[in-house]
């Protein structure tokens, strides 16, 4: 509040703002922490995943107790944030973000910040943000490298002005192959959070209009000017208003989870699964553990985590086909 460009007026605007934090892993937990402490009035935190011990190296909102409790990240984040700032509203949602629910998720929000770990969701966010005229901030990290870009529809270039297509699966490094260094997460998420604070506090003129590329290990930080990009590119999203990710024409319903040796399977039509009856069914198949958010089955070398919406995370493989087989074998599809 004492920072003059923000002032009391800016702080009041933050208090009245609503943000969607899309993904609450490494980037997302820094975003939630920073925006929650800054006094952004309403944080809607959506994440599909639950906590594992190796998340703690970079996912700053969580601790060993959260891992032991096996609770979903969105829930753990909300619990922690309520202790940090009791004066803001926190709305945790444990679900996968896809074209079927994104319009609900953005309902009433002033902007979206990127805490996701995959390209598919980012292009979906870009489609949605441009179509519904909502600012969003892209951020991504791998190894010691990170990038961020602020997108204000109608004003700045969008993600698809920058890059027409996402890299095909298997062609870029993942958290598995390249690892991820803790500090790059904090840098990129902090850049994103500051952009959000500028936009939400009514200081759009201060936004960063470059693509920021940080190569932390090689000591290089570049601000790439986006200059004429918006005018020069015949962008399918901004110019032609084509939104294939939002229309469900692009993107699969499976995802290999970054750094997890796991595959997530989800289904276009959400189901309503009784974890209790599933637990009963699986007794004797393997080791079953359960809480009110999820059920786990350890069998052979696999760890299956099943959510009430029918979604499952199959640990122990990175092969989508193998994961589908395991799902079909134990859950049934």
């Amino acid at each position: 509040m004492r920072y003059p460009p923000l002032g009391e007026r800016g702080q009041a605007k933050l208090q009245a703002s609503r943000v969607l934090i899309c993904g609450c892993g490494a980037l997302g937990s820094v975003l939630a922490n920073t925006l929650g402490r800054a006094g952004v009035g309403h944080l809607r935190i959506v994440d599909r995943d639950f906590l594992e011990l190796n998340n703690l190296q970079r996912q700053v909102l969580y601790d060993e107790e959260d891992v032991a409790a096996g609770i979903p990240k969105a829930i753990a984040a909300a619990d922690k944030l309520r202790k940090i700032n009791s004066q803001i509203d926190i709305e945790p949602l444990v679900t996968d973000v896809d074209h079927t629910n994104i319009e609900q998720l953005i309902d009433g929000v002033d902007m979206i910040v990127d805490g996701t770990d995959n390209f598919e969701t980012r292009f979906l966010l870009n489609d949605t943000a441009v179509k519904f005229d909502i600012p969003w901030v892209y951020g991504g990290c791998i190894g010691a490298e990170g990038q961020s870009m602020t997108i204000v529809p109608g004003d700045t270039p969008c993600l698809r002005c920058l890059m027409q297509e996402s890299p095909p699966p298997g062609t870029t490094p993942t958290c598995d192959t390249a690892g991820i260094l803790g500090p790059i997460i904090n840098i990129i998420a902090s850049l994103e959070a500051c952009e959000a604070i500028k936009i939400l506090s009514g200081n759009r003129d201060a936004i960063n209009r470059t693509l920021t590329v940080v190569e932390l290990w090689d000591n290089r930080i570049r601000q790439v000017k986006l200059g004429s990009l918006k005018e020069a590119v015949d962008c399918p999203t901004c110019k032609h208003r084509e939104f294939p990710w939002l229309a469900g024409e692009r993107g699969s319903h499976t995802a290999i989870l970054c750094g997890r040796n796991a595959v997530q399977l989800s289904f276009p039509e959400r189901q309503s699964l009784s974890l209790d009856s599933l637990a009963a069914k699986l007794q004797g198949v393997g080791t079953v553990t359960q809480n009110r958010f999820l059920l786990r089955l350890a069998v052979d070398d696999y760890l299956l985590t099943i959510f009430p919406d029918g979604r499952a995370i199959i640990g122990g493989t990175e092969e989508i086909a193998e994961a589908k087989t395991i799902y079909a074998k134990y859950i049934g599809s």
Binding site: G115, R122, G140, L162, M163, E165, T172, L211, R222
Partner: protein, 66 residues
């Protein structure tokens, strides 16, 4: 002529365009962004943008983790 490609010196033919360079390197122009001297080169102009001696060119791919 010599350019700096992703921070490393590289020799290319005079007045090569960005499109030609990407093709030579087998890089899919739809999936990379190219910056020349810290300015992003719009992909619709790669075919007409020629490089000069000493240009610093970086090929940027999106990073997807987080």
């Amino acid at each position: 002529m010599n350019i700096l490609f992703n921070g490393e010196p590289r020799s290319v033919r005079d007045a090569i365009t960005i499109a030609e360079l990407l093709e030579k390197l087998a890089l899919d122009p739809r999936r990379v962004a190219v910056e020349v001297n810290l300015d992003l080169a719009p992909r619709d102009r790669h075919g007409e943008t020629t490089l000069k001696e000493g240009d610093q060119l970086e090929v940027v791919t999106l990073v997807g983790g987080g």
